[in-house]
């Protein structure tokens, strides 16, 4: 990091935000066509400080502060991507996705298909999601399902610094429009080892974060940490939980999920999007369909309450899955004998 001096360590501990910044910096250095645009991303360093320092390092032409016009910004990114650039657009909150949906859904997602492969849109749209700041209903949503539904888009949701760096680099190099969603509460609180060397993690590949035998917990973004904590608690009660992190929501690594559930026979899908008509429904449905004969219990979903996110922290916390709810749900899958 520029401020603290170059570390010579091979692997160091970083926060999620730092890992993302490192990925951005590395890709910007590597490819002059990569540039960043968004509101307050440049000189102010990003509202969550993720792009801090990049403006100074790369200049204002490559880290562009834009006016507040989400549709226009994303639209420009599409046009730039179609003509040789690799823009990384930042939307402060996924709550602002709806403002840019036309550009993402009707233009970016479909250009390659509608032109039978002539046009490519190698752009990345980064945005934050999740509750925890008392930011209320219009700044706390996890709307990844909206983009996951669209053929032609890729949706990536890393849960830890190591994954974030490798996945973002891959997203930037991907020739498709990739929506890369980061949990705003994890930028500085989720830390982990990150290799200070060039590495890429493939999109569309899930990761087993913890191996287990008795139940599969499919967890997304910050829910990975919740699931891991629940797994620890469950282990003390003799239940061995396997935690699978899809990492990419679309395209989904079905093989890894199904292999896990075929082994354990039980699945709980945990996400911060709303319960109804959400990403958990898609994953649960795939499991119920393709691992049907291996299921010993119904597939359960734990997700956010079907209410707009309330402001007061005590209310806000009650709308999302937590460790206790995961443990309780898992236990309900087992019979008296096992």
């Amino acid at each position: 990091m520029p401020e603290t001096g170059e570390s010579t360590a091979y692997v160091i501990e970083m926060t999620l935000g730092e890992a993302i910044r490192e990925a951005l910096a590395e890709e910007m250095s590597r490819d002059p066509n990569v540039f960043i645009m968004g509101e307050d991303v440049g000189r102010p360093g990003g509202i969550f400080m993720v792009t801090k320092g990049l403006y100074e390092e790369f200049g204002k032409d490559r880290v562009m502060d834009t006016p507040i016009e989400e549709a226009g910004i994303v639209g420009l990114a599409v046009g730039a991507a179609m003509t040789g650039m690799r823009p990384i657009v930042e939307l402060m909150f996924t709550d602002f996705l709806p403002l840019a949906m036309e550009q993402l859904v009707n233009q970016a997602a479909k250009m390659h298909y509608m032109t039978a492969g002539q046009a490519r849109v190698p752009m990345v749209l980064r945005a934050t999601l999740g509750t925890g700041r008392g930011a209320a209903a219009q700044h706390s949503q996890s709307l990844h399902v909206l983009v996951a539904h669209i053929p032609g888009l890729k949706v990536v949701m890393p849960s830890n610094p190591y994954d974030a760096k490798g996945l973002l680099k891959s997203a930037i190099r991907d020739d498709n429009p990739v929506v890369f969603l980061e949990h705003k509460m994890c930028y500085s609180t989720v830390k982990g080892p990150v290799a200070r060397e060039e590495y890429l993690l493939p999109l569309g590949v899930a990761d087993v974060k913890r191996e287990g035998q008795d139940v599969t917990l499919v967890a997304i973004s910050r829910m990975v940490q919740v699931a891991l904590a629940a797994a620890e608690t469950l282990a003390r009660d003799g239940i061995s939980a396997e935690v699978v992190d899809p990492r990419t929501i679309r395209p989904l690594d079905k093989a890894t999920l199904l292999k896990s559930v075929m082994k354990t026979g039980r699945a709980v899908v945990i996400d911060e999007g709303h319960l109804s008509y959400g990403v958990t429904a898609e994953i649960a449905s795939i499991i119920a369909d393709e691992a049907f004969d291996y299921l010993d219990a119904p597939v359960k979903r734990l997700a956010a309450l079907d209410v707009p996110v309330p402001m007061a922290p005590v209310l806000e916390a009650a709308t999302i899955p937590n460790e206790a709810r995961v443990v309780e749900t898992v236990k309900g899958l087992f019979g008296r004998r096992y």
């Binding site: 049907f292 291996y294 010993d296 219990a297 899958l333 087992f334 019979g335 008296r336």
Partner: protein, 490 residues
Amino acid sequence: MAEDIYMPQLGLTMTEGRVVRWLRAAGEPVRKGEPVLEIETDKVSVEIESPADGVLGPILVEAGASVPIGGMLSHVLTAEEQGSRGAEGQGSKGAEEQRRGGAEAQGSASPTGLPAPSVIPPTSSVILSEAKNLEAKNLVRGRVVASPRARRTAAELGIDLVQVEASGPGGRIVDADVRWRAENIKRETQTAQREPQAASRVSPLARRLAQELGVDLALVKGTGPGGRIVEDDVRHAATAPLLPLSPAPVLPCSPAPVPSIEPLTGIRRVVAERMAHSFTTAPHFYLSAEVEAAALVRMREGLLAKIEAATKARLTITDILLKVCAQALAEFPEVNVAWAEDAPGGGLVRHAEVNVGLAVSLDAGLVVPVLRKADGLTLGEIARRRSDLTERARAGKLALADLEGGTFTLSNLGMYGVDQFQAILNPPQSAILAIGRIKDRPVAADGAVVVRPTMHLTLSVDHRVLDGALGARFLERVAQLIQEPYLLLE
């Protein structure tokens, strides 16, 4: 969703509990926490409360019956479940009537028209009620509720889901329940293999066939439900080469000074089981006689060379004794009988052939090869066959056919210096003759004490089949033939 009412574990040592009385009846509405029945263990008496609001389902275990921990007693059904018609209602009614019908209902259709469930009739009342309970419970819903994984496992392992007790949420049969049942069946099968005489372990057809083919059911492995011996098993055993009587593998020795348990395998195991069974089920009655053996010895010496030249076998005292027994059996067909295990009230099997078995002691254990139709064999033939059988026995190459069909056994321990002993009947035979050594002993003759070579005979008979007088007459004839062996020419 129905809630289970099951026999709870109330103490560390509790393994089962008895239903004392039901406080509520099937079909009555119950509330959560209300006492529903009274149970007792050997230590305590306790009331079981309803786990939920609803309606009490069919009573699965009547007052007075005992079930193991976890055994299902009843359910609390929701209004919808209670109210649903058709298969569910019929199923529960049919199951209840069948239970009350007891033995008579077995194998016949229930009053509701549903076919009786094909349950293997178990042997204890606890198992009976459990099997019925499971079925009743599983059929109450009109279908078996099982997870897909459980169904898969059941299909793989060949388990009938209707027989599986559910422990999953909402009364669902889960994978572990199926595997539990498979384990139980395995244990039952192993038990069945040790008790081939148990009525439920051999199908009637298999039993008939075994008799026809002369197959010893004790040596047949059952592959039917619950380890039952079925027709195919008997056919297979009749044609298969020797299996269970090959010498047992060398058992591992524990080097430690602590005594370790060596499980019995192979012949020794079979012998142990059969001896125990024989000795405890057949009432043994013993008759002894001391006979003069000089004539026997002279006869042997006289025929030794000739028979050896003709058959290459060396004639032994045992060979002559085999002929004597065969002759006596031919003359006393009422001794050539066997006890019939599955005849209700007892029965006899009158053998058509005189097949005399000779007890042969091997390192691995006792085997009894059989000389078939011994009454029609010459001494030379007996010697030759006996020689061949004992040689093959020692080499571990006896075939099943060599061991089957025996109707009488001769056991000679004379070569070990034993004067006299009482043999244990070789089931299902009714008589066995034990021979001691020929030794010079003082006997009374013409008022004086003289020394003559004598031999002790002890006949053990199954007093269910042969009474003392008959045994005595048989022994008398045997003794006569031994002391006057020329009578064999009659």
